[in-house]
């Protein structure tokens, strides 16, 4: 069977496969942003971090022949980017948004600069985890070849939820993000907690980049990310700073991205570009639908983005 013969089932299958494949970078970046924002700081630079992660993963996978070393390198590259951002935003009077935009531009520039030599060669890819063995339809088998990074991210989403609720460190992060004054009175170091949250969050975004260059689309090019890093920020907001909701929202976004190509595969090409814009339209719609003048966003860290 081809996509055409599967008809609308093919579209559905394409969208679901795309949800997981395309949703994975959203997932990792939004989890990273979620952790960062829970501590009261915003990191708009995760788009740059994502690119640095993608480039490092590809380069290290190529050099060492092991894609998993690439993944680890992506995490470390992300953490280093995070360390720079953390250093900047914990200085007095530094605005997170401005620092984040600077880091975004710096990160993408650095990734393109260092990544130039790796555009041509092909690096070993992450091998997918196949869940489609039960089916003899090629499309289903292909759709169920899932990135190991997705499972990693999904696991982290649930783990992070538990971390915020049931660990000392997680409670400290929430306290620092919601009321730094209260945290200080409890003897929690606001600065240290924030630095660690930003660094760990950036490492996650870096790993998200590894999925881009080592799984899907699976090459290192300068056009590898189309703003996933920035949209993840919006995604965190309407996930209400809940990591498990980040998982669901990432799937919705990933799926929305795949609507255009899936429709094209069955021969519907009207409004192709409009369909491609659907994640962005979705962002706007959800934002409008969920805002309320009556109450502040439930779950929003009280001190998010406030100076000092």
């Amino acid at each position: 069977m081809t996509s055409e013969s599967m008809g609308w089932w093919g579209v559905l299958l394409g969208v679901s496969a795309g949800a997981v494949r395309g949703g994975t970078p959203f997932l990792l970046v939004s989890l990273g942003e979620c952790l960062t924002e829970k501590s009261g700081k915003i990191n708009l630079g995760l788009e740059g971090t994502l690119l640095m992660g993608a480039m490092s993963a590809y380069a290290f996978s190529y050099k060492t022949g092991s894609p998993w070393i690439g993944v680890i390198a992506a995490g470390i590259a992300g953490a280093l980017m995070g360390a720079v951002h953390a250093f900047l935003v914990t200085r007095p009077k530094v605005n997170d948004i401005a620092a984040g935009i600077a880091m975004l531009i710096f990160g993408s520039g650095l990734a393109f600069f260092l990544g130039k030599p790796y555009i041509q060669p092909s690096a070993p890819q992450l091998s997918p985890i196949s869940l489609g063995g039960w089916s003899d339809t090629a499309q289903i088998q292909a759709a169920l070849k899932i990135s190991p990074i997705f499972f990693l991210g999904a696991g982290i989403a649930f783990a992070m939820n538990w971390f915020f609720r049931s660990t000392r460190a997680g409670m400290h992060v929430r306290a620092v993000g919601d009321s730094p004054a209260a945290a200080r009175a409890l003897g929690i170091s606001v600065e240290r907690t924030r630095i660690l949250s930003i660094v760990a969050g950036s490492a996650l975004a870096g790993v998200g980049g590894a999925h881009l260059s080592l799984f899907y689309p699976g090459a290192w090019t300068e056009a590898i990310s189309s703003g996933q890093g920035l949209m993840a920020v919006a995604l965190v907001i309407f996930s209400r700073w809940n990591p498990v909701h980040c998982l669901y929202a990432s799937l919705v976004f990933g799926g929305a991205q795949a609507v255009g190509p899936a429709l094209q595969a069955v021969g519907v090409s009207t409004g192709y570009y409009l369909w491609n814009a659907s994640p962005y339209i979705l962002t706007l719609l959800v934002m409008v639908a969920t805002c309320s003048p009556k109450r502040t966003l439930v779950g929003a860290p009280g001190a998010l983005g406030a100076s000092s």
Binding site: M171, A175, D178, A182, A185, G187, K294
Partner: protein, 513 residues
């Protein structure tokens, strides 16, 4: 109480001594060579005007601030306390003047979080069981699963005190803990603490502005004035006037404005069957109807958490009502900036730093929040006139004796009482109000300031202003109101006239019987 203290922590209070503590903020000296000694098992009061440096001094003991000079002796040894964790290890705990609960966390989470020795991974089942058991012996009850942001001021204060009992603190510092409790609640809390002190299990350092509490519960006092040591003495040897003189550096002058005979005018503020929800969507105000006439003070008494906060928030425009009407001079009022300006409605909210200020903005800017967009503070409808804002602030600061280093200081750096004064200056300073809504206006003010605010409110009433006074201080309500209403579970349940009021009956209705 139920949690066995870690072996390193003292089983009993240790003597604590401060030797020549000096604390500077930049070039400003908040404490200058203050010495103070609290023997174990005693109840010590720290007194002084707003801004005298009391909170700063105790924050040095807690490791929240580091003293610039001087020594802290615990059990006779000089100790360095670098953070509240260190203080905890010495068995020292504090109830701060500004709340230190994390708003988004539940009461249970806040209590657990406060323990520095919580395990890395929290077993919530066990912790909840432990907390429930602790609550059985607790002097007051608060729902463990309510987020702190939904508690009224009085309830938050109770949680703060519960926190210290839960931590099994041996040396307890209380920074104005009773300012939001009713007198009955305050006596209950302090009485309970006093009992522990008498049995030698606790030492207490209490900061308060209420002489009643000093005479009722304390053994010894130390007085600060403008960052300097101003005297000490045993409570049993002193009179209130002597203490006041130490605090002010001169004899106590009382300026009371007496209420003019009733000159009640037409109805000004009218609420009709007003309903409003808490953040959680549960009704908090349930069908409140009342009328405040010109030249009348209507008092609303009640235990905190019975809907007063939400009621005031509706009048402030911070919360939308779910049904019912608010009318001012017969016209519907939705508390927009324009309407508030047109009807000259002014408001003193509770917790002014949170509800009425932008903490990072300067005192001058905060004082201009009502009028910055109008002449003379704005020229040609769009250019802010900084000079006018500053001039206004300078005048207000001296008229309301706000102690601040300059009009440019961020308002969040002011002492608790001075934040209150700054907001008062903004709301009452123009002298043009028609309607005044005040919620706990004397929260945390020293006695001189309380007297002057009471005088200002009475003066406003005599001028024909309609005043709605929501307070948890019954004495204040009895002294100021013309009519007194009692709110319980969101409903007005009782009305009386202060002259004929019977405290017992009021208490009965407040308790919801």
């Amino acid at each position: 109480m139920l949690i066995p203290p870690p072996p390193a922590r003292p089983e009993k209070p240790l003597p604590l001594e401060l030797v020549k503590i000096t604390k500077r903020f930049g070039s400003f000296v908040a404490n200058n060579e203050i010495s103070l000694s609290v023997p174990p098992g005693t109840f010590h009061a720290l007194l002084g005007e707003n801004g005298a440096g009391k909170s700063t001094l105790v924050k040095c003991i807690m490791g929240f601030h580091q003293a610039s000079e001087g020594d802290i002796l615990i059990g006779g040894h000089s100790r360095s306390i670098k953070s509240p964790y260190d203080a905890y290890q010495f068995g020292i705990g504090m109830v701060y003047q500004h709340f230190t609960l994390v708003p988004a966390m539940t009461v249970a989470e806040n209590l657990v979080l406060s323990r520095p020795d919580i395990p890395r991974v929290i077993d919530w089942k066990m912790e909840m069981a432990r907390l429930r058991k602790f609550m059985e012996t607790a002097p007051f009850q608060v729902d463990l699963l309510t987020p702190a942001s939904q508690l009224a001021a009085g309830e938050k204060q109770k949680v703060e005190i519960l926190k210290q009992l839960y931590l099994d603190t041996k040396f307890l510092i209380l920074d104005e803990p009773t300012s939001v409790l009713t007198p009955v609640e305050a006596d209950e809390v302090l009485g309970l603490i006093r009992k522990k002190v008498e049995s030698g299990l606790l030492s207490v350092l209490l900061i308060t502005h209420k002489f009643r509490e000093v005479f009722g519960f304390c053994d010894e006092i130390t007085v600060l004035r403008r960052g300097q040591f101003a005297g000490r003495g045993l409570v049993r040897d002193m009179t209130a006037d002597q203490m006041a003189e130490m605090m002010m550096g001169g004899p106590r002058e009382s300026k009371t404005v007496s209420k003019s005979s009733s000159n009640r005018g037409k109805a000004a503020l009218n609420l009709k069957d007003l309903w409003a929800d808490k953040d959680s969507g549960v009704p908090a105000v349930e069908g409140v109807s009342l009328t405040v006439h010109e030249g009348e003070v209507v008092g609303i008494a009640g235990v905190s958490g019975n809907g007063q906060r939400e009621l005031v928030e509706v009048l402030a425009g911070q919360r939308t009502s779910t049904s019912g009407e608010v009318n001012i001079h017969g016209q519907p009022y939705r508390a927009t900036r324009e309407e508030a300006f047109a009807h000259k409605v002014f408001l003193l909210p509770e917790e002014p730093l949170r509800n009425g200020c932008v903490p990072q903005m300067s005192v001058a800017e905060n004082m201009a929040l009502r009028s910055f967009d109008r002449a003379p503070m704005t020229r040609a409808k769009c250019f802010i006139n900084r000079k006018a804002i500053r001039q206004n602030a300078v005048e207000m600061i001296s008229r309301y004796s706000v102690k601040t280093r300059s009009p440019e200081t961020p308002i969040g750096d002011l002492s608790g009482g001075n934040v209150q004064r700054a907001v008062l200056a903004r709301e009452l300073g123009s002298g043009s109000e028609n309607i005044l809504v005040a919620a706990n206006p004397c929260f945390g003010l020293d006695f001189a300031a309380v007297a002057s605010i009471h005088a200002k409110i009475t003066e406003a009433r005599n001028r024909g202003v309609a005043v709605l006074l929501v307070s948890e201080d019954l004495d204040e309500l009895l002294a100021l109101s013309d009519r007194l209403l009692v709110i319980s579970h969101g409903k007005l349940v009782y009305e009386t006239i202060p002259a004929e009021a019977d405290i017992k009956t009021i208490g009965h209705h407040m308790a919801g019987h």
